[in-house]
């Protein structure tokens, strides 16, 4: 595993290196050396957990997606806060969401997005990566939730990962 100096995940290594420079107070000789060691070591150790297929991601679509998710997080917080403070009881539901994405990284991004946004938490992925189990805090109908997630998150992700 440690037999040669290679970077199997160049982007991960670069991001780790930059994050280490930001975390240590100012760029110095020591932080650069330690950053390089970490950028080499962490991808080597975690290599087995990364999907084999490399992702061809249209990175330039990412900022728009992140902005939309941040906006939704703020809106979601208000609606969840309102739901918590209002006296009526919420109508929780488990919803099986049919996945059309097939890349593992895309599925995990979608699952994280669902957990962060309006009244939904992703609970599990089926073993064949075809269905996502979602717990909705206050669902009027299953189809409504599924449509909303498909239109605002899965579609942009499908465009990003094709």
């Amino acid at each position: 595993m440690f037999d040669r100096l290679s970077f199997p995940q160049p982007w991960l290594s670069l991001i780790l290196f930059l994050i280490w420079q930001i975390l240590s107070d100012g760029v110095s000789g020591g932080s650069v050396v330690l950053g390089l060691i970490l950028a080499w070591l962490i991808p080597q150790v975690t290599h087995g957990f990364w999907p084999e297929r490399p992702a061809f991601v249209k990175v330039w679509r990412m900022p728009a997606y992140i902005l939309r998710v941040l906006k939704d997080i703020v809106i979601a917080s208000f609606s969840v806060a309102w739901l918590i403070l209002s006296p009526r009881n919420p109508r929780p539901a488990f919803i099986s969401y049919p996945l059309q994405l097939d890349h593992p990284l895309a599925i995990s991004i979608l699952a994280s997005t669902i957990s962060l946004t309006p009244g939904t938490v992703s609970a599990d992925v089926s073993d064949d990566n075809k269905t996502l189990l979602i717990h909705a805090l206050d669902a009027t109908s299953d189809q409504e939730v599924i449509d909303a997630i498909y239109n605002s998150y899965e579609k942009p992700l499908m465009e990003m990962f094709q």
Partner: protein
């Protein structure tokens, strides 16, 4: 520090504190385990985000440069909150935690 920055910092701190409080109330008020997951993943994320933002404004206003570490903390929080919520939900389904009665649908068995 300019009064404008002070007002902004105070407003963000109150806003963040209020949201964190609502998240905590949700933890106590909501009926079952799965609905309680929703409080910490959302309300608290915005609460901590607002407090971090006020910290960024404070340290740039007293002239110590823009704190990138606060931004990093927020990013890490946004990345870890959904993962921990997912793990909690999975563990709850595994040991078969009871859901509140009027829940539609059921957790999987697999």
């Amino acid at each position: 520090m300019s009064p404008l920055a002070e007002y902004a910092i105070s407003a963000l701190l109150i806003f963040g504190g209020a949201f964190t409080l609502v998240g905590a109330i949700g933890l106590a008020r909501l009926p079952d385990f799965y609905t309680r997951l929703h409080g910490p993943t959302k309300a608290t994320t915005v609460g901590v985000g607002a407090i971090m933002l006020s910290s960024v404004i404070y340290f740039s206003a007293i002239g110590e440069g823009i704190g990138i570490s606060e931004v990093l903390i927020t990013v890490f929080l946004l990345m870890t909150a959904p993962v921990s919520a997912n793990m909690l939900a999975k563990a709850a389904m595994h040991i078969g935690v009871k859901t509140v009665e009027d829940t539609e649908g059921k957790p999987w068995e697999q």
